[in-house]
Amino acid sequence: MHAPLEKARSRKRQFLPPQFVRAMLAGHSALGLAFAALIYIVCITGTVSVFMFELQRWEQPDIAPIDRPLTADEVGAAINAGYAQAVADKAAHDMFVMGPSPRAGHNRLMINYHDHETGAEGSWLASPSGELIARAHAPWTEFVTELHTSLHLPRTWGFFLVGLTGVALLSSLISGILSHPRILKDAFYLRRGGSWRLQEADLHNRLGVWGLPFHFVVSLSGALLGLSVLIVGVLALAAYDGDSEKAFAAILGPRASADETPAPAPDVPAMMRSVEMRLPGAQFTSARIDHIGEAGQVVHLGMRSPGHLALANTYYFKGDGTPLGDGGLESGGIGQRILGLLQPLHFGWFGGLPIKLAYGLLGLALSVITFTGVTIWLARKRDKGTPVPRWEKFWMGIGWGQPFALAASAIAALYGSPAIILYAYLATATLALLVAMIAADMHAAGRVLRLACAVALVFLIVVYLTVWAARIVDPLAWALTAVLAFIAMLMAIPALKRAEARASMLVPAATEG
């Protein structure tokens, strides 16, 4: 049956020999199956993390957003208020202030401080005039972003595992392209409703190929961010006498010295003005003050100029205002500029809401690619007459169980304490797997879990409105709630339709029987 096919293929000189493609496909398949669940979790939580700042606002909607850049005096007032609070909380060691940055979707003035020796810390939201108005409280956003960056494992291991997942994704992109000789021939095919395998393969390949620049950039930057501790650790052994701090300082700028003599807090407004004199139109984005109130303190001031992808350039100052150069993140050397691009390109923090929505869609596409990668393998097993129904149901449990578990964890964040969020997530993900495994088949498993997710989302909306409706002052909260309702509808309607269709198909069969 395949002889004429092979003959026709051999007539045309192939760019990639079939044997090479088959070997590459075997490697692609093995790698995809080994890392599929991890890649899927990282992708789906990454898609949610793109909207991290918006979700923080959704979790605390009684604080009005700030839609304008801050003046130097306002930033100074916020730092003074934050420093006073840090002293009162006995946590005045390192301080980080993040101002509104509409391009990144951040519309708040946030002040964090912590003392890494005692572990004391605090996080506040401030008004534009610099007055501290409420402690920052966004436990679910924190939970999702930590799941994305470290899978809630101990930090070093978590970063490494997520970095390794990024490498596996990058490797899958490489082997995926090399095992796709019909990349041009199939460029626009999306065949639905025919063979299951062809349908899944079309979706997998089209989403993969046309979104390739995004997938490549996101997996490369993610892998680098995750593996940075390991890479810098080896670099430090080779060139910095084993001192990772020194190696990091070579890239990320000067660190505070050990001089603990008391000193006044740095005059950040004066530093901002000195940058503004050189770069009129530069806007404040953030300030990090290491060892605040000590003679060895160092300020990393983030100021953004228009026309660049980087969130900001970083300007370094001693505590007394002496400039120590800048990071060159906007217009320095190639290495410095790449460094400035990593975070905005990874999270889509460079073009406001439109780019974030695009990143949301492309992130969702990457999750679908991962999901269909496994379903192609499942369909191939069916085509060969060796179906694996348990694995089919298991994969549905992972695929549809994750959104369900995330929705359940959000309910836990609203109703319970932050400590139970992780347990709620793990319990729901496990429950989803159990439900999938006892379902009649994978279609039933998928349908039940989609409906469960829709119900959980509706419940989340009801709980959210019960808690917050009367106090919402941030209009984004309403918009995000509407989006959640839309997602619930997207989850429920196809599942209900399929259940209806299957029921109507079963009627004649039952009558005949």
């Binding site: 065949r191 639905r192 089209r206 046309w210 680098l224 026309g307 290495g335 410095q336 790449i338 073009g351």
Partner: protein, 244 residues
């Protein structure tokens, strides 16, 4: 000169010649569309036109870019549907429109930001066209020519699988980090450039090594090559320290 609709009197820069609209004409236009007067009558001189162009350049160029991307991808699809040589004009014009779309984005956002925006819009335009033009089929119909190549069937066992995992994850990782750190230590570039580029090399090389070791059926060949690369990489990285 009066900019109608706003009621604000403005003088154009002296270097521009102005082209005014006579009173009768302006009254006619205002009477025809009183609510659209600001746009209808605003072009009272090239200076104002230029000023407007500057104001609206970003949204106009962005909208034009988006349109060009969509049309470009649509033309590429038409080319894909046709046969050579009849489809060549579609192919060329499709890519030209995409190039034009990038140019429009560069005008609006500069190259650095424009490239990022352009690639995102290109991907979304293609997704949109592919989804809109999807083919709905009767279940279980697959033509023979659509059959994809099957992955290579290989006899495998646990020791071999573990060896492959060690090769692709551990040894490929060690080799990639060795090369990346060697680059970061030894390349004659600025500190940031060699460290960041060396760091970027690690995931790329690791990923490529993973893809290669998993597809290569000869374990010994992959092992020897990766050990060799690691030896050279770490020698270059640590030699200056050893010699110092």
């Amino acid at each position: 000169m009066v900019v109608r609709g706003t009621g604000v009197a403005r003088s154009p820069p002296q270097k521009y010649h102005t082209r005014t609209v006579d009173n009768a004409t302006s009254a006619r236009i205002v009477a025809a569309a009183p609510n659209r007067a600001p746009l209808g009558l605003i072009f009272t001189g090239e200076a104002r036109a230029l000023e407007l162009l500057e104001t609206y350049l970003v949204p106009l160029a962005t909208a034009a870019g988006v349109l060009l991307f969509v049309c470009g991808v649509a033309l590429l699809r038409l080319s894909w549907l046709g046969k050579r040589p009849g489809n060549v004009p579609y192919l060329i014009s499709g890519w030209m429109l995409i190039a034009g779309a990038f140019w429009a984005f560069f005008r609006a956002w500069d190259v650095e930001v424009g490239v990022a925006y352009g690639l995102i819009v290109l991907a979304l335009a293609a997704y949109g066209i592919i989804i809109l033009r999807r083919e709905i089929r009767v279940p279980k119909v697959q033509r023979a020519r659509e059959a994809a190549l099957e992955p290579e069937e290989r006899p495998t066992n646990w020791p071999r699988a573990i060896a492959k995992a060690l090769l692709s994850i551990v040894l490929a990782g060690i080799a990639a980090i060795g090369v990346g750190v060697a680059f970061a230590v030894a390349m004659p570039l600025a500190t940031h450039d060699r460290i960041v580029v060396g760091g970027l090399l690690v995931p790329v090389l690791w990923g490529a090594g993973m893809a290669w070791t998993l597809s290569d059926s000869k374990l010994l060949r992959a092992t020897l090559l990766l050990v060799g690369i690691s030896a050279v990489g770490y020698a270059v990285a640590f030699l200056p320290k050893v010699l110092a």
